[in-house]
Symmetry: C2
Subunit: 117 residues, 2 copies
Amino acid sequence: MTNYTPGLHILSTFRAGSDKLTDIQGCRHLFDGLIESLRLTKTGEVYHAFDSGGFTASICLTESHVSIHTWPEFGKATFDVFLSNFLQDNSDKVRHFYADTLAWFEGTEEAVHHVTR
Amino acid sequence: MTNYTPGLHILSTFRAGSDKLTDIQGCRHLFDGLIESLRLTKTGEVYHAFDSGGFTASICLTESHVSIHTWPEFGKATFDVFLSNFLQDNSDKVRHFYADTLAWFEGTEEAVHHVTR
């Protein structure tokens, strides 16, 4: 049996403008591009827009998951990316996924947690 | 504007038997029951079984999300439940959801993080 190597999970709350916090299609395009360029494997996904203009999304990956909830009424979003290290060390991909997401949203971090699990 | 009240996110890694770690239908039944009894609102979900017998699931809720990844080859699972406190304090529901999940899996906790975000 291969040993279990904990993976990195980044949890972030960041502030952003309402143009990005309501752009569900732009976010989907961003995530799809990152999943492709980082060679991750999607097993399913949910994107749901709220009447408020905010949206929520969860993307299941064979490596684990990505999720985001946006709150344009509060000017912020909560974001998670967690990749297991089952076959290789994916920690750099976690950091890359988060950095590109924060950049696309032009976000300002309020609180970030790095959990190795 | 209502103030943003951070919600509770529980991240857990627990050990469990392979009978539970491969029971995707049983887990789905558990989660559906908890979502109903706790009066949460599902906006979409993904359940995916791996050839190894393990499975991964992400459930989007209007309140936020639940996800689990099981690793029968390592005898463990990683589980997340996060509910926002937008309309009411859902922290007790987060604890309840986690406690019932751990009980159903007859799990032994390895590492648990409580993040208020």
